[in-house]
Symmetry: C2
Subunit: 200 residues, 2 copies
């Protein structure tokens, strides 16, 4: 595997486990089996590496989300659950692919960081995705004020981040595969969020 890919993979894992500050380039390059200087050579700096970790996954994730939304957007038969599914399913697929599940934890850390630079990066690059989903929710929930809708979408985001990153206290039981566990998480999440959104 090319050096850049090995670095990105190891970075994803260690950022998820120890945070951006907590994971050192020495641990990281050792885990990737590359030289210490390789990070600065290929990415310029640790901060640029962090951005690249996000870009790689979010490009794919949000691309799939928008594609799924496109398919059902405007359709009179589309339900709240369908829209939630379009948002959640790609995250589910990602978490089934290799250590993609770790990326959801990285994403959760980014929220916790409250770092303005990072927030601006995420907002600039992927804010339009949230806007399109919110617009679709607005179409399906015309009785809600703009402000009320924003609040609810924000709360859905919170529950989603919490659930998909494995924050919660609910631990996977040993007789359930990781795959099944995530599927169940998504099902519960969609039902819960749909009820919250539909609340009069």
């Amino acid at each position: 595997m090319p050096t850049k890919e090995r670095i990105l993979g190891a970075a994803e894992e260690l950022f998820a486990r120890h945070g951006f500050e907590g994971a050192s380039l020495r641990q990281l390059t050792a885990a990737a089996g590359v030289n210490l200087a390789a990070v600065n050579y290929h990415f310029g700096s640790k901060d640029r590496l962090i951005e690249e970790v996000f870009r790689r996954r979010l490009d794919q994730l949000n691309g799939r989300r928008l594609a799924a939304l496109q398919k059902i957007s405007g359709d009179p038969g589309t339900t709240i659950e369908d829209v939630l599914g379009a948002f959640i399913a790609p995250a589910l697929e990602l978490s089934h692919d290799g250590n993609g599940s770790l990326f959801m934890r990285v994403l959760a850390r980014a929220f916790a960081e409250h770092d303005d630079t990072l927030r601006k990066f995420l907002s600039d690059n992927y804010g339009h995705v949230m806007r399109q989903f919110t617009a679709e929710f607005a179409r399906l929930l015309p009785h809600l004020s703009k402000e009320e809708l924003y609040w609810r979408v924000d709360l859905v985001t919170g529950a989603l981040t919490h659930a998909m990153s494995g924050f919660g206290m609910i631990q996977r039981k040993s007789d359930v595969t990781e795959h099944t566990h995530r599927e169940q998480t998504a099902q519960h999440l969609i039902r819960f969020a749909a009820a919250g959104l539909k609340s009069p």
Copy 2:
């Protein structure tokens, strides 16, 4: 103010802003206006300081939560919204008191850390609070299976953490006080969570 209190206050602020690894003892003691060695003298180590930051706030927070729950527990007139209020209101009061609001961000970081030691500490010391609230929800939602209930409570926790720590993209408008903003957050949260919990 005594040295220990000044350290705890500065620690809360810097842990919220820069994380546990990101905030150094040198920044921290400088902000508190105390000597560098004071942390190790009064707390033993940085890790023990972190635990003390949690203990100080959570003792008060969960004490108030249980007291509020005690008042309404078992009452036939009690609603889901009441129980949610008993859980959320003390967090709201805390966030109105000085830099108590920063503590909610510290708490959110603790979730993101995924650190086993920290999780065990929180679970051991304050798990019984979650258990009592869950029991009251179970009484009010007898049609839900134990598993289903656990899932929903977990998702409520996620939305709560997200909202109260100010993760979300919703920013307070300049014509609204911090106090009012938090009140509104709590109102939206209670309505949203109640709908999710009550979902058939």
